[in-house]
Amino acid sequence: MLTVAGVEFESRLFTGTGKFSSSQLMLEAINASKSQLVTVSMKRIDLKTGADDLLTPLRQAGVRLLPNTSGARNAKEAIFAAELAREMLGTQWIKLEIHPDPKYLMPDAVETLTAAQILCERGFIVMPYVHADPVLCRRLEDVGCAAVMPLASPIGTNQGLVTEPFIKMIIEQARVPVVIDAGIGAPSHAAHAMELGADAVLVNTAIASSASPIEMALCFRDAVNCGRRAFEAGLGRVQTQAVHTSPLTGFLQQ
């Protein structure tokens, strides 16, 4: 069982709500994924068209909401977004993401650490989205973050675990849950992250942009479960030289 900030999660697959072709499909995919932690964003209401009511069906689905600070370009804006989310949703949980660069959406490490420290002091449950930087992840732990969320590869790229060597270091050192976020494009990527010992993965684009999001959600659910079970079972050591699995007595000659 995964525990984040004292809350237990049976599922180690966290999901996003973006990029689905309809709210109905999004809800069905989340339901199929068995995800219990789901990210949402915030936006000014368009007064002419009104706002889609996403909250009611998500709350009915029984998932915990993780609002993000997407759109924030610096610590000040992210802190404002977190305060907004707390007022709107009545939750202290916040996915802290600050990415001023629109091309690669790389998270700003300095602003993220600054915002994380202030938000932790104000009682937020902070889950920062960061580059796979083991030193930064330790610093974020030190200021009180409830988890760290290093990226596998840039948001929405489906490139998989480009940062694998650094993810391994983060997992080895972390005293808080490590959630691999961003860039996971295939169930095999998710399974691999879990085999490495990640505590959870967060997947959005790969499910939402699939031709069959519900089927893909099921695939990710199974992949995450399988990867975790393999990690718990204990993977064999990787070696360069062959090690026989059958007796090598040349019985045909003897």
Partner: protein
Amino acid sequence: MILIHLNNVPQTLQQPLSLQALLEAQNISQQSVALVLNEAVVPRHRWSSILCHHEDKIDVFAVVAGG
């Protein structure tokens, strides 16, 4: 007459409305929004007691899909 800026759109009010009355007049569901008055988040319990003033900048945010 009071001029306010609601989500960056200028609006004229004939009389001072509370923030809550303003949302009601706009048919905005109060359950699922957060309200920002002159760049400060206003707690829900204060919406009925704060009146709009001339040149107030009021922003209403809601949840949208995101990753």
